[in-house]
Amino acid sequence: MKLQQLRLEQIRQFRDPLLLGDLQPGINLIHGPNESGKSTLVRAIRAAFFERHRSKSVEDLRPWGDSAAVPTVELAFEHNQRSWRLTKSFLQRKRCDLVVDGTSYSGDEAEEKLAALLGYQLPQKGASKEQHWGVPGLLWVEQGTGQDIERAVEHAGDHLKSALNNLVGEVASSGGDEVIQEIEQQRGELLTGTGKPRGEYLQLEKDQQQLQEEIAVLDDRIRQYQEQVDRLGRLTDEYEKARRERPWDQALRNLERARERYRQVEVLQQQQARDKEALQYVQQSLALLRQNQEQLQSQNRKLQQREADLQKARQQLAREEARAEPLQTAVEQARAVYDAAGKALERARQQEARQRLVQDIARLQAQHQSLSLSLEKAGEFQRKLDEARKQKQQNRIDGGTVQQLRKTRRELDEETIRSRAIATRLSWELDPGKSLRLNGQQISEQGEERLLEDSTLSIPGFGSLGITPGGEDLARARRSLQRLEQRLSDELAALGVASLEEAEQRLVRFQEADRQLNHLEDLLKSVAPNGIDRLTSEYDDTGIELEKRRVEQAGLPSTPGPEAETAPGKTEAESTVRHAEAALTNAEDARTRHEKSVLTARQDCDNARREWQQLKDELEGTERQQQLQQLAGELAAAEQRKAGLEGTLQERDHEIQRTRPDLIRLDIERYQRAAETQQQAQQNRERELRDIRVRLEAWGAEGLEEQRNDKAAELEHHHRRYQELHRRARALDLLLNLLTEKRQALTRRLQAPLQKHLDHYLSVLFPDATLEVDENLMPGRFTRGNELGQMSELSFGAREQMGLISRLAYADLLLEAGRPTLIILDDTLVHSDMGRLEGMKRILFDAARRHQILLFTCHPEHWQDLGVEPRDLEALKGQTVSG
């Protein structure tokens, strides 16, 4: 297929017609910057083929804002030496016209014809979608989708396969795939993917097991049932035998005999017990008799003992009485010593009292004299004190007032001096014997007077001169002087003195008297601190005490003799007395104890003699002798009885021993048990028989074996069905394997041509790599050296390259099958590095020898060395407009 020219008009930005003519059979490189209209061109080609002319889903073709537009595409191409010309317009004028070698088609017919030629489907309605695109979807690569090949291959699958079938010339079995599906489905009903039973098949397996278990249970119960039946048979026999033979009867008879023998032995044993009791009694009374005899014999020994005791008591008494004399002497001596010591002590006490009196009298005399002296002094001080007090009374004056007086006088003096200074001075020098009168007073010779007041100077003879001192100060000084003079006279009058000097003298005398008074009071206090009266009474008391002691001294006996001087002191005397007293007490105690001992010994002696006498009297009586004789008789009788009983007992004991009562008792027990056991066994049999019968009746009613047979039948049915399914499963498995195997072999044969083309291109890019085509003709496993993986796992760039290679291989395949191939690549391989791009260029150049390729790009520099002249879309637009 060779596209020769393409014209479009009123499509998107191509409002004006654009003609792309003179297209080459190999590569056509069309370039232009972004938005120059490359994609619109591609879209126009796709719309021309894929979209129905009457489609309402091609609004995108309309130039912007042009509601009246009629988007139109015109295509001319050649295929198999026939020329095809297509004119298709949309929207406002919906038309499709196709002319093939002069034959015209239009509308749907034209569209179907094109679809059949290129191998795609038209949509029933609406826009054409990916799934409709078929072969062109694989060969026309839109921008940025070069790497996504799976879906494109899927949608082109049927076309590809039919092309392959043409090539290989083999019938791929009509409906073989459906058969496989059917077999798969049938197998799927029985087996899981991994070949395990499922569904009914699995259920049968389980049911069989369940049934087998149930049968096993039933078998077990049947076995039990049969065992029980056997047991019942044996037991019935045993029971009947026992019922006939009554083995327990013999045991009961034996038991009765043994019991009889035992009763006889028991009688003997009772007699034996009675005799033993009698023997015991005899033995007891014998013991008592012997005890009595013993007692009587012991009385004689006691009498001898008492006689000896009496002797001993007498001797003791004699010894005690002998000790009385020396003890009495010792007491007397001790008392004499004690009396002497008492007298010495008395003397020592008297001496001591005398000495103490002498000392007291001397002390009291001294005290009496001292008090008398103090009393004298106190009287003198009291007298002087009274005098000082009188003096003080006479000169009493107030110190403060004298002070005030002194001050007033000083102020008056100061004021007088000041007034003199300012007073009008009147001096005079009169001729001898002439006088004048001033203010009535006569003045003569020379003198000076200070005048403060209006004065009158009378000059005899002449009359009088009045002098008036001038100035205000003078008047004030004159008034002040008068006031001070007045105050001084008042204060003097108050003190009762004539002058200040007199006041001063009186004050000195007053103060002197006061000091004297204080001094005297202190002196008086030193001799009579508590006053003179107290001192006087102390003095009197001392005197009385002294007198008392003197009388006491006079009352004492006269001074003792000279031995008193050497007599021991009182303390020593007291010690001597204490020792003497202790010795006396000891001696007296010893004597008292001895007296008691004597009394005791005497008492003992009396008692001993009385007891001896009493017993002696008793033993020598006649009653006693009779008692002894009787005892001896009784003893002999008892001894005889005892011997008799012992003989009987021994004899009977032998008799009892011979019959072995212990064994008889064991026999009784044995026979009893035997009878009981046998009867019990029979009862047990009877009970067990009953139990078994009841059990068997119940079990029998269940029809166990019939049940088991039914179950076994069911199991066999299940088993048969299972075997059928098992065989069927195996057969299906085998069939599926075989079918799949054969189909794969066929696919491999079909894949071979495609693989050949793929290998061809791949070897250019990766010399050692392989890319396998799977059964759906999809490029799948990729290997390169040690690398192994799916194509989808490769990098984006590599996937795009593999995608393009695959598409070219499909193109080769289609070409071989005589199908039209047109390859449109919109800005492809933009993710390839220079090395890979170089390889891809070699591949494209190679492919272009067989296929027409439209390559749109905005990077013409990448494709410079492709060996074709690039066509600039911008330039094309210009040409068309100008054309």
Partner: protein, 411 residues
Amino acid sequence: MAGLAQRAFGNGIVPVPSARGPDLNRDAITIKIAREVNRLPRFLHTADWQMGRSFSRFEAEDSAALTEARFEVIERLARLALEENCDAILVAGDVFDAQTVSDRTIRRVFNATRAFAGPWVMLPGNHDAALAESVWSRARRLNAVPDNVHLALEPGLTVLSDQGLAILSAPLTQRHTYRDLTEPFDALETPPDLLRIGLAHGSVEGVLPEEVDATNPIAPDRAERANLDYLALGDWHGTKQINPRTWYSGTPEPERFRNNDAGYGLIVDIEGPGGLPAVTLHETARYRWYQWRETLAVPSDLDGLLERIEGLRESSVLDIRLEGSITLADDQRLTEALSVAEARFRCIACDRTRLQLTPTEDDIASIQADGYLGEVIEELRARQEGDRAETARDALALLAELLRNRSEVAR
């Protein structure tokens, strides 16, 4: 049938053909009227009813029918005795197949005897031995045993004076015994004017095939030694004469493919004590059991087989095992014929696992096995020679069927 009868009765005893098939008592009333009052004793000998047995190898429906037939045959025996003016019916053991059959089975068995009001003597066999607790004691507890049915649960004599019969019984009181239970017959006295009829269950020594159990032995000359007029035996399921006075009656209704001489009741006439018994066989079976082993080699073999199937009476139980080879078309023909037969017969089983499928060119064309499907068919056909032949055969049959269905749908 004819061949069968000859094989079974090669000893010269010819069964009385039963023109009416299993339905024996249509004219019972006329026969009853013809009965004489003072005539020689006549009795019916039967055995091995095996009641309570189930037929596991068949589908539930068939199994039920076969079980039902066993009850029916008791009724049939009763009517036969009535029609034939028998004085008594002797059942020589294995009335029941097991001790613990259901109560219902027990009741039904005794109910089925009603038609014949004369005395029945039933002997315990090895399947229903008179153990301490047995199906018999259960039957008695259930009050299921009619008065006219005598249970010979203990060795000894059952005197049927009115019928002129003294029955010497040797019941099994254990499941198995290794001594001859009929030995006491030698010493057992009977009233002189009555027939001495022995009733026992076991294997007559040295007569039956080796495979039969050596348990429960019976001396072959017991009838002679015990001066019996007739010894009625059970245990062997086919009708078999041991000597003129000793017979196995066989089971009245067959229940397996072996022992095909089964399905009869024996009517015995003896002309007084010491007289030789005259034994006549009366067919009682409802179902006949056939087991065929055929080899198919050429297409006409199949034709022959299908003819034989067609020739069988409807109440048949048929078991076929085929060997050899068959084309796909013939295989389908066989399938269809079996399908028809299934609807006709009580039961039919056909084992084709050893029958190879050999598709012809026509076969393959007719099922449109083109492309790799053809390869698969060829492969499977070849594999039928290998070690997993059965699976290959099944697979081939499956594929052929699938393809046939598809091509039929296509048409």
